[in-house]
């Protein structure tokens, strides 16, 4: 390229590419208001008659609210566990170091790469008599997401000066208070990033609950989508309405938090 493309041409190009992202969303949106025949055509035109009843039918399913509740509960619990355990561990891994903790750090880094052995995990839950409980699935997600959180936090705690620790300890502050009152507030931006990544991972995951949750009253919203499509794939209008209901909260959260998501990834990824 001899000269740079003009900003105008670049802008047009970028908008055209953005349409590629938006059109699929638009497709499910318009079709979610169409009747059974029209929605099966998957077209991009506006509905000939607007079938708001699709949404009414979706909300009539009481397992949807339950699905949301389960997804919300699991995400919240995993966020707390991952942030708490990972920040405590990252704090001593970075500050104390030594053979043992370096080994632990390496084990977490390996956990970042290697895949979960899902069938033995089911077996383990069975042996521990916690199969299908909220506790088991929270522990599963915590274990899976800890490596990433530890990795990010160790990198970040490096940037918190040790002099702060010294000053605090000289003032008579214990190590727990040091962690709670000084370290935690200073790493709060990364904790936000960790939380967002955890929420997105848990909320959107199908793999874990598909294998680990047998009891349908504990199904997450994504599992409900799977079940719903299997049952209702003859009426795409309702299926699309359900999808809109499922992705809207995620998109709203994303709209509000996207600055943090993008800044957090920025800070974490390239630093790490």
């Amino acid at each position: 390229m001899r000269k740079k493309l003009s900003p105008f041409a670049l802008e047009i190009l970028a908008i055209a590419l953005a349409l590629l992202i938006l059109i699929p969303f638009f497709m499910i949106f318009v079709n979610s208001f169409k009747g059974i025949r029209e929605s099966a055509l998957f077209g991009l035109s506006l509905p000939s008659t607007w079938e708001f009843s699709n949404y009414k039918d979706v909300f009539k399913q009481d397992n949807i609210l339950r699905g949301f509740k389960n997804s919300f509960l699991l995400s919240a619990l995993v966020v707390v566990c991952v942030n708490l355990f990972a920040s405590m561990a990252a704090f001593v891994i970075q500050r104390r170091g030594g053979k043992f903790l370096n080994g632990v750090y390496m084990a977490f880094i390996m956990g970042l790469i290697v895949p979960v052995s899902i069938i033995p995990t089911i077996r383990l839950m069975d042996v521990l008599h916690i199969k299908g409980t909220y506790f088991s699935i929270v522990m599963y997600y915590t274990a899976v997401l800890l490596p990433f959180a530890v990795f990010l936090l160790v990198g970040f705690i490096k940037s918190v000066p040790r002099e702060l620790d010294e000053a605090a300890i000289l003032e008579g502050c214990g190590y727990f208070r040091l962690y709670l009152k000084i370290i935690l507030p200073l790493i709060s931006t990364v904790l936000v990033t960790v939380s967002i990544v955890v929420i997105v991972s848990v909320w959107n995951d199908f793999f874990g609950p598909f294998y680990l949750v047998t009891d349908s009253t504990k199904w997450t919203i994504v599992l409900q989508v799977f079940n719903f499509v299997t049952l209702y794939s003859t009426n795409w209008g309702i299926v699309f309405a359900f999808m809109i209901v499922v992705i809207t909260p995620v998109l709203i959260i994303y709209l509000f938090l996207q600055r943090y998501i993008i800044d957090g990834l920025t800070a974490g990824s390239v630093k790490g």
Partner: protein
């Protein structure tokens, strides 16, 4: 301050959870992969290398192995090309820059399962908007049965996944671009370097950390692909889009747990063999920096 005074027990909750719920299943998985564990049998017997022997004679494993590697290689390359391209465009002073960045990242926050269902409709042979589009612009010969034609199915899944993850790479590259000092680029352009030269000699080397992160994440993520394949093709037609996790799922459903665990162990070996060297390279460079 003495390092040893930092309380070791702070690390215990994380270690315990990770040890019990991650490392233990991996270790017992290793054992179970040498057994005939079957959901219908009353007991689990050790049967040595039988599962692995059977697997290596199974053309389906070869398919899953090849497809996973093709998928991972293609996604890693294309995701990075697309992500870097988007990042370079959106690093310019465009009016809609922030809005566009937000749009490109959007698919990443949607459940892959839902994305799979959306694209099943989009690739529908008669009504899907892909074929409708080709029909409208007069390229009828481009109309294909994207998901049911063995020639195209894997390719279609790859494109769908790129659609989903390109924005993630974009954000990481944008981050990398922000770390490049503006005056470096300016002085290069004053020296008369054209865009491409500047890119090759200034931008590209300084983007190295973003490249490593993106390539590592794309590689390990794509080898673990599951939902998109499951929803779009279930590994078919035939076994032409079978990947490790769809193979595991099907074996799991038929109750052959020992066998399914052996497949999982092979995936474990594959990801470790590919991922660890990349990670080591990354760590080494980190020390240098």
């Amino acid at each position: 301050m003495e390092k040893s005074k930092y309380p070791l027990y702070f690390s215990f909750p994380a270690i315990i959870v990770f040890l019990v719920f991650f490392i233990t299943p991996t270790v017992i998985g290793f054992y179970y992969s040498f057994t005939d564990w079957n959901i219908n049998a009353s007991s689990i017997k050790f049967n040595g290398l039988d599962n692995y022997k059977e697997l290596f004679n199974e053309p389906r494993l070869k398919q899953a192995f090849t497809n996973t590697l093709i998928f991972a290689a293609a996604v890693t390359v294309l995701q990075n090309v697309a992500g870097l391209g988007l990042a370079l465009i959106l690093n310019e002073k465009l009016k809609l820059r922030n809005l566009l960045r937000m749009i490109f990242f959007m698919p990443y926050v949607i459940a892959p399962l839902v994305i799979g269902y959306i694209f099943r409709a989009i690739y529908h042979p008669e009504h899907g908007i892909v074929n409708k589009f080709f029909d409208t612009i007069g390229l009828d010969f481009m109309m294909q049965d994207w998901l049911n034609d063995p020639k195209f199915a894997l390719f279609t899944i790859i494109i769908t996944d790129i659609w989903r993850v390109a924005g993630f790479s974009m954000v990481v590259y944008l981050a990398g671009l922000q770390f490049i000092p503006k005056d470096l680029i300016e002085s290069a352009s004053i020296d008369g370097a054209h865009y491409w030269t500047r890119f090759k000699h200034v931008v590209f080397p300084l983007l190295a950390p973003a490249f490593t992160v993106n390539i590592l994440l794309a590689m390990i993520g794509s080898m673990k692909v599951f939902e998109i394949v499951m929803v779009l093709t279930e590994g078919g037609p035939g076994y032409t889009t079978e990947v490790f996790y769809t193979y595991i799922r099907n074996t799991f459903s038929s109750g052959e747990m020992g066998y399914a665990t052996a497949i999982n162990m092979l995936l474990f070996a594959l990801v470790t063999l590919v991922g660890v060297p990349v990670l080591m390279a990354m760590k080494k460079r980190e020390v240098e920096m």
